[in-house]
Structure formats: C-alpha cells, structure tokens
C-alpha cells in the first residue's frame, strides 16, 4: 500500500516540477478571448479556407509527371506527425529544410511542376492542411547532427542584436514576453501555430513572413525568404518549443 502512495507522491512531485519548469506559453495564451475563440472554432477560423484549398490541391494531378500528392502519399491523414518534425535534414536536398521547402521539393522533383511562389495562397493552404494533421502533437525535432548545427546557428542569430533599434529576438521574446509593445502583447515566439491566419494580414502567412516582420519592425534588413538564416532560426525555434503542441491553423492579431 505505502509503495503506491510513495509512487503517487513522487509522480505528483515530478508533475509539479515539470509544470514549474515549463513557463513556456503559446502565442495563443497571450491573445484576447475573442481571438482565441476564432482559432478554436474550425467553422469560424478563416485559416480553414486556406486549409480547404490545400486539401483539394492534395488530390489534384499536376506537373509534367501528372501526379497528385495522393498518388504517392495516399490520404492526407497519412501525414500525421510529419509537420511536428520540421525543419529537418533532407537526404534529397542535403541540407536542413522546412516543411514548405519539402513540399516544393516534391513539386519539382516528383510532380515536375514549377515551385510555388513565396506565400502563394494554395501553397500555404497545402502546408496548413498537412500541419493540421499533426494538430495537438508535440513539436519533436529529430536528432540529426546537421540539424543540431542549424539549431546552434539559429540560436546565435536569435541572441544577436539587429537593426537600428539594436535589439535581439531574445531581448523581446524572453525578457519582455508578456509586456506590451504599442498595442501588441509580446509573445514568447513559439512557432506552434504556423501557418497562421493573421488578422493584420487579413490572410494566412508563413513563419518566415512572421520572422521577417519582426526584423523589419526593429529596422533590420530581413533575410530573404528561403535563406539558410531563416531556416536556421526556424530550426532553433522548433527546438525551443520542443514538446509544445501544434495548433495550426493558428489565428494571431
């Protein structure tokens, strides 16, 4: 009998320990209840319009190979857990790539079609539809030596002061998280909701678009879409958010 109670006590001790240690919060937790409600309800979340487009695109034949994603991958629900691993090292690309780049890789090498242009709505829809299959799953970056290098480079970028305002990502997203900047609450910069529907954009956008926005805000020159630097930052953010639950399509102010 006492064995169980000791075990129970230890379990509780362990649980409160992990809870006390995990002060991480999704951007969702910093939002007003009305915005949270918009994200929580798939019948209202405008991001679902893009998802629907993506789900239809999944089954459409395209490119010189005249193949659809379904032809090789089956139903989109087979993508469960995939988004939770990205960015990851790709044997085909021989570098660390994000989920969007993986989609474009299949598009060019498998479908033999043209790459989706940056922030193309159908492309974002496809990415959101695939990510939604991992909704509720923990962010789980794989352990790969070259991914670890990218995470390290990303961490350096995260800590580096940039722009005329001379602030690092960490200055805002660690030290000042929860405080207000103009009309916005500074979140902790977890990538769990991406691609997101952002009210300010009135559309869905990628994590890279968000990161570039933060760079412009401190009057730094943003890294180009698809650059190694942005993917490195994404890899670091995923590591920093490891274990947190995916929630795409997120809604953000």
């Amino acid at each position: 009998m006492w064995r169980t109670s000791v075990a129970t006590v230890m379990l509780f001790a362990l649980m409160s320990l992990t809870q006390a240690q995990d002060a991480r919060k999704s951007g969702f937790d910093f939002m007003r209840p009305a915005t949270q409600a918009l994200q929580m309800d798939d019948t209202q979340n405008p991001g679902m319009l893009w998802v629907k487009d993506g789900q239809m695109t999944w089954a459409q034949k395209d490119g010189a190979a005249n193949k659809s994603c379904t032809d090789c991958h089956g139903d989109i629900n087979r993508m469960r857990g995939v988004a939770a691993r990205y960015p990851q090292y790709s044997l085909v690309a021989k570098r660390v790539i994000n989920l969007g780049q993986q989609i474009n890789q299949c598009r060019t090498t498998q479908q033999q079609a043209k790459v989706w242009p940056t922030e193309h709505p159908t492309f974002l829809g496809l990415e959101a539809a695939i990510t939604m299959e991992s909704r509720g799953q923990p962010v789980t970056p794989p352990s790969q030596p070259l991914l670890a290098d990218a995470q390290k480079r990303g961490e350096t970028l995260f800590n580096q002061r940039i722009g005329q305002v001379d602030l690092s990502c960490r200055d805002c997203h660690d030290s000042l998280a929860g405080k207000r900047l103009g009309g916005n609450t500074i979140p902790q910069a977890h990538p769990t909701g991406y691609p997101i529907y952002r009210l300010e954009w009135q559309s869905v956008g990628s994590l890279q678009r968000r990161l570039r926005g933060c760079m412009t805000a401190v009057r730094a020159e943003p890294y180009p879409y698809g650059s190694t630097e942005l993917v490195d930052l994404e890899a670091y953010l995923a590591m920093r958010a490891a274990g947190m639950r995916l929630e795409s399509p997120g809604v953000r102010p």
Partner: protein, 114 residues
C-alpha cells in the same frame, strides 16, 4: 479561387432554433488603401449575401429567402456571418455571395428535419 465554409447542422428537430455559419474567402478591398508602390487599390467588395431555403421535393423552386445581408467597406476580409433559423422541414439551404467585378459564389447544404 473562392472557398467558403458553411456550417449547418445535418439534422435538426422540427421547431428547433439552429445556428448557421458562413465564411467566404474575399479581400473586401475598401478602395481607400494604397499599395506599397502608392497606387490606389481598386475597390473590390462583396455587396450582397443571401440564404434561401428550398424544401425537399421542390428542386426546381428557387426557394424562400430566409436571410440576407448587404455588405459594406468597413467589413473585414473573409467575412463571417452567423444567423439563426427555425427548422421547419427538410430541404436545402442555398448560400449566395455577390460583389464587384462580377464576383459570385454559391454553396448549398442539405439538412434533414425530423
């Protein structure tokens, strides 16, 4: 590519008040904003939304108007509308959005009332 999400309960009890929700993908460009190059972005709005009810067995009928709205420039992109109806009989709800530049989108959803 226009996409819409309409939410209608599949079944309802006769007399029950049901909630209908409809979101449509549309920029709702006001005509007052400028692009990053400084050019005025042409107005592009949805002007009208309607929902008609076609009773089962009356497929050729255009049905009865059960809800309609006029939309204006102050309404956000991807407008979301929700309204309540009293379920009277089985049939199809036909949703219609119309706007500038010949914009038109239609969705229909069947509902069983028992």
């Amino acid at each position: 590519m226009t996409r819409a999400l309409v939410t209608v309960p599949k079944t309802a009890k006769r007399g029950e008040i049901i909630e209908i929700r409809a979101v449509v993908q549309h920029p709702m460009e006001t005509g007052y904003r400028r692009s990053s190059e400084g050019d005025l972005l042409p107005r592009d709005l949805i002007r009208k939304f309607s929902c008609r009810f076609v009773e089962s067995g009356n497929a050729n009928d255009t049905g009865a108007m059960v809800f309609a709205a006029t939309l204006h420039a102050a309404i956000a992109a991807n407008p979301y509308l929700s309204f309540n109806l009293r379920a009277a009989s089985s049939g199809t709800l036909v949703f219609n959005w119309e706007g500038d530049n010949g914009f038109s989108h239609r969705e229909q959803v069947a509902m069983t009332v028992a």
